[in-house]
């Protein structure tokens, strides 16, 4: 479980986030939604410690992330897996080396065991016999899947995915969404997914946080999302004609 309390973040004079309170449950796909530039990525980066927030705290199982010492923070970090918007695979390493990287850096197991573990993760995301390819030789969808495999290599308790299906075709996007959901249930991770894709919200969102202009505007589950009276949220949710038709079909 991750708890965010009164989180605020500034860059110079621009306040990007303010007063964010939220609880992210274990074993669930928690989604952060909002328009581009609303501060979703910054929120995620504050939570994992890539940015230091000016106000508020982030608690992992009740322990404040920014107040613990360096070694303890490193231990928490090793339990965090993150999939980045652009996959962020290491260009100079091949698929297998990318997935093995965290194991080699921190794992204490012999080399064949690391390889087995990496292969296991790759099989989970359905990438087989691609060990020796380099990231530049993979399609966008495959890069994301390898990114997920690398994120789960250390058996994380917390999984962050920043726009896991941006830039993918709808079919591949659904594959990735399902993968994240299955992994969350099997590994019982606290999963935080950032997205602006309504499809993926309807597909996998269990607990949804709507960020607007750096503030938490709305919070709830999938069903409540369609019936909220919140104007900004409705504008976001029903921006596409597909969702408008869904609403009409439901008699809204």
């Amino acid at each position: 479980m991750i708890t965010v309390e009164g989180l605020g973040k500034r860059f110079g004079d621009t306040q990007v986030l303010s007063g964010i309170d939220a609880v992210f449950q274990k074993g669930k796909v928690n989604q952060i939604i909002g328009r581009s530039g609303s501060g979703k990525s910054v929120l995620a980066k504050c939570m994992v410690g890539l940015h230091k927030p000016e106000e508020g705290r982030v608690l992992y199982e009740g322990r404040s992330f920014h107040e613990i010492d360096f070694d303890e923070r490193r231990q928490v970090r090793q339990r965090i897996g993150m999939l980045f918007q652009g996959s962020a695979l290491f260009d100079s390493l091949n698929v297998l080396e990318n997935v093995m990287f965290p194991l080699r850096m921190f794992g204490a197991m012999p080399k064949d065991e690391m390889q087995d573990r990496a292969h296991e993760c790759l099989k989970r995301v359905r990438i087989v016999d691609k060990d020796l390819l380099f990231p530049a030789e993979l399609s966008g969808g495959m890069q994301k899947r390898v990114g997920i495999a690398r994120a789960i290599a250390m058996e994380p308790q917390y999984l962050f995915c920043d726009e896991p299906n941006s830039g993918l075709d709808p079919q591949t996007a659904i594959v990735i969404d399902d993968l994240i959901k299955v992994i969350t249930e099997e590994l019982q991770t606290t999963t935080v997914v950032i997205t602006h894709d309504m499809n993926s919200v309807m597909e996998t969102g269990e607990h949804i946080l709507f960020i607007h202009q750096g503030r938490k505007w709305w919070e709830g589950d999938r069903d409540a999302l369609l019936h909220s009276g919140n104007q900004e949220l409705n504008e976001f949710v029903f921006a596409g004609s597909l969702m408008r038709q869904v609403k009409k079909a439901m008699g809204g």
């Binding site: 004079d13 410690g49 231990q75 970090r77 980045f84 652009g86 962020a88 260009d91 965290p102 850096m105």
Partner: protein, 301 residues
Amino acid sequence: MQPFFRYFRDLRGLLLHAAARSKISETRRIERVVVRIALRRQGSGAEAWPTFAATVSIVFHIGRYALLLREVFARPERLSIYWRRTVEEMDLLGVQSLGIVALLSAFMGAVITIQTKTNIDSPLIQAWVVGFATRQSVILEFSPTVISLILAGKVGSNIAAEIGSMRVKEQIDALDIMGVNSAGYLILPKLAATIMIFPFLVMISMFLGIFGGWMAGVQSGVISSDDFIMGIQTGFKPFHVTYALVKTVVFAFIITTVSAYQGYHTRGGTREVGISSTRAVVYSNVAILLANLVLTRALLL
């Protein structure tokens, strides 16, 4: 081969030792303050006061550079991985620069010999002086400094572009998330590699520069082979080679850390990676010229 490897091992030990006792942390508090001032400079009216703003900006960069160095010399997670990366970098940054270094050195040596002859063409000056002058300029200045400036262009831009694109593609964030010390992992192997391999490049350059001078001198009839060889043996001071290698190590440090700093703090996209790469070359060159003057005054006077 044995001494070759021992040399690497000793240097590595020295480097790690220096890292462990680095005194950089003492200046940390001052830098914090400076960084804070600099971050606040937007909207503080400092823009209306260009010299002040420029000074703050320079101090800001120096402070942030020092902070980065402190991270670079933090304890490595896995020495074996760092060491393997160092060997890769020695190949990429050092061995692959051998061609350009060799070519440049031979031609420059040749030109120095011919020019020296035309400059001092007098019956009062003995023939071997041309060989002597060629050796001195190659060892003292040409090989350590000019080759370092060239390497700043080749290696510096490479380092800044590689680290810069890793930054904009969030690969550095990915390292940080895993709990890896990204600055150390990316920069320390490059630094160790250049510090170990540049002295070899410069020694090869010295040899080829003098050899090029001999070839050109003898071939063009400017000087006889015997005179040239007598010249390069006359008044040889081993300390001059030491001086040149000390300079080279300092320049290697400058090139690697300044370029890595530019890359590491890239923000934006591919355009900014290009800007960082250009800056890396320009700032390394300026820093090399300054350091050259300081070291020459300190060591030769």
